[in-house]
């Protein structure tokens, strides 16, 4: 049987972290009474016009720069037409012809094998980033055969990140999206919490034989977590391969991922190929961005967005933070990945290192093997840890001073997890775990053991 090459391309929608919406002054907030965060423009009442939110443009520029894109100094807005109850205008304002950023790249890493021993770095090309409106939410009430529409989300700013189909499997897709999530959270341009719909991923999947043209692709939607993204992509790859090997064909359709069944199913309501009748948005002139060279002399500062100014103020991206951790503390790259992957873990580690004399290379073992595995077992975040960085530092100080053995330290830690408010020193005394330092005492004990053996 000829081998199959899977091809995966992702389209990611990230909700922009801003106070108000992309083209109107209504609030952006996750849970609120239905239709309370809706302006006349969001409801598409006649006579209303879009007014662009500066913060949303800045967020898109930051994200474009962080992803190594070229920022288009002139970008345009378009209308994408389709009918749906949660799109009151009958069109979405997006950037189809000339988006705000193009031709970037995202580097991500994954473990070479299941043993999690070595990491390899890969790159996925970013085709473009565009600004666009989010739609409202539809709640389907099948019992009464109706849909309830809440427009709170309608008009919220989105950055759509379109990746080239450089990925080949669920693991790569998950790793790439995780890195993008970390970057967005570091920039603050999006909080990128998938569970709250702030980061939505659609996967385009196809398979083909080497040397042959790309196969027909399906679009997989309704993926609610990074874990499910990997599952959905891998399932769809397998499904297509089986279909083709059994003499069937792959339909160019949209499928939804069913997390309970772990499979993809055809989506209803998607009537064939859509004709969106793109047209320029007549109510918005081109968006012009400036840099240090092209900065206009006599324009109101508030009306000017300077790409270089934004570039200078970008925070350290995750990849840079990891390099610094490796360089500063002598830990392995794999360690730095794990530290940044858990919210608050890097700060916890650095705090412990500051408070003890123990070599960071030794501290990291306690952080990753003991602390992290406990937190995972009990589904706790670093913030929720019953053992604070101070307690752990106290414990490691005792170990460093050789007042207890490593085995004893693990026992103390096990006791600390109970969160009963005892200090490491108190537990050591309670359980008599102090290391004996007295030479004479040790000799007496050894002699007694030897004597005991001789008596048998």
């Amino acid at each position: 049987l000829a081998p199959w090459i899977p091809v995966v391309g992702l389209e990611i929608h990230a909700q922009i972290s801003s106070n108000s919406k992309l083209f109107s002054g209504s609030q952006v907030q996750f849970a609120a009474p239905p239709n309370s965060l809706v302006s006349f423009f969001d409801a598409s009442l006649p006579g209303t016009l879009p007014v662009l939110n500066r913060r949303c443009v800045e967020a898109a520029v930051m994200t474009g720069l962080a992803l190594n894109c070229s920022i288009n100094k002139k970008s345009l807005f378009d209308r994408k037409h389709y009918f749906y109850a949660d799109l009151p205008a009958g069109y979405q304002i997006t950037q189809q012809r000339v988006p705000i950023a193009v031709n970037g790249s995202l580097s991500y890493s994954l473990y070479i094998d299941n043993k999690m021993s070595q990491m390899v770095t890969k790159t996925v090309r970013i085709k473009q980033i565009q600004l666009e409106q989010d739609s409202g939410k539809s709640l389907h009430d099948d019992a009464r055969s109706q849909t309830l529409v809440d427009l709170n989300r309608a008009g919220v700013g989105l950055m759509e990140v379109v990746m080239e189909p450089d990925l080949c499997c669920g693991e790569e897709a998950a790793a790439a999206v995780r890195e993008l999530q970390l970057i967005l959270q570091t920039l603050g341009s999006s909080q990128a919490v998938m569970a709250e719909g702030q980061l939505r991923v659609d996967a385009n999947v196809s398979v083909h034989h080497p040397g042959e043209p790309y196969g027909v692709r399906t679009e997989v939607k309704n993926i609610n977590s990074i874990r499910f993204l990997a599952k959905a992509v891998d399932y769809e790859i397998q499904r297509q391969i089986e279909e083709l090997e059994n003499g069937g064909t792959v339909l160019n359709e949209t499928r939804a991922f069913d997390s309970k069944l772990g499979c993809t199913v055809p989506m209803r309501d998607k009537e064939g190929k859509q004709d969106y009748r793109f047209m320029p948005e007549p109510n918005l002139p081109p968006l012009i961005l400036y840099d240090a060279k092209s900065l206009p002399a006599n324009m109101n500062h508030q009306q000017v967005i300077n790409i270089d100014w934004i570039h200078e103020r970008l925070p350290d991206l995750p990849s840079v933070k990891r390099e610094k951790l490796v360089e500063q503390y002598g830990i392995l790259p794999e360690h730095s990945f794990t530290l940044l992957n858990e919210d608050g873990l890097a700060e916890f580690f650095e705090s412990v290192v500051k408070q003890t004399q123990m070599k960071p290379k030794k501290v990291i073992g306690w952080i990753l093997n003991d602390l992290l595995s406990y937190l995972k077992q009990h589904s706790l975040t670093v913030k929720e840890s019953p053992v604070s960085s101070f307690l752990l530092a106290d414990l490691l100080k005792l170990l460093e001073k050789k007042e207890i053995s490593s085995t004893a330290a693990k026992r103390v830690l096990a006791e600390l997890w109970k969160g009963e408010g005892k200090t490491p020193l108190e537990i050591v005394k309670e359980q008599k775990l102090e290391l004996l330092q007295d030479q004479k005492e040790l000799e007496q004990i050894c002699q007694a053991v030897i004597d005991g053996q001789q008596n048998e």
Binding site: S18, N19, S20, S24, G25, S26, Q27, P33, P34, N35, S36, L37, V38, S39, F40, A43, L45, V51, L52, N53, R54, R55, C56, V57, L76, H81, F83, Y84, A85, S138, L139, H140, D141, D142, S145, Q146, T147, L148, V149, D150, L151, R268, D269, E271, D275, R277, P280, P282, L284, P285, P286, L287, I288, Q302, Q303, I305
Partner: protein, 108 residues
């Protein structure tokens, strides 16, 4: 050049317009002919104009919350509502296929 029945049917689906009779179709034909006059201008090497606003400044608004909180007003116009939600049919109700709907286009 006449607009084909397939295109007319496609347009009725996409835009939910109803050409209704030959006069409606004729009006569309005339509109296309009128716009086609643009082709008589030689635009080689000329950057397409986007809109007559293209050299205007795109105003940027500060990120402040200035509107919303008017659910009652918005829902006043709704024919049906359920507890501050708008009510819509369960999904898009697609226009029936050409053969299955009453339209003069069928005869064409």
């Amino acid at each position: 050049q006449k607009v084909s029945v397939e295109v007319l049917d496609h347009l009725e689906h996409l835009a939910l317009v109803d050409f209704r009779d030959s006069e409606g179709v004729e009006r569309l034909q005339k509109a296309i002919q009128f716009a086609d006059q643009l082709h008589e201008v030689n635009t080689d090497g000329v950057e397409p104009m986007d809109s007559v606003l293209e050299d205007r400044c795109l105003y940027l608004r500060e990120d402040d919350v200035t509107e919303g909180n008017c659910a009652k007003e918005l829902l006043e116009n709704a024919r049906e509502k359920v507890e501050e939600y708008f009510v819509a049919p369960p999904g898009n109700i697609p226009l029936p296929k050409l053969e299955e709907r009453e339209t003069f286009l069928q005869g064409s």
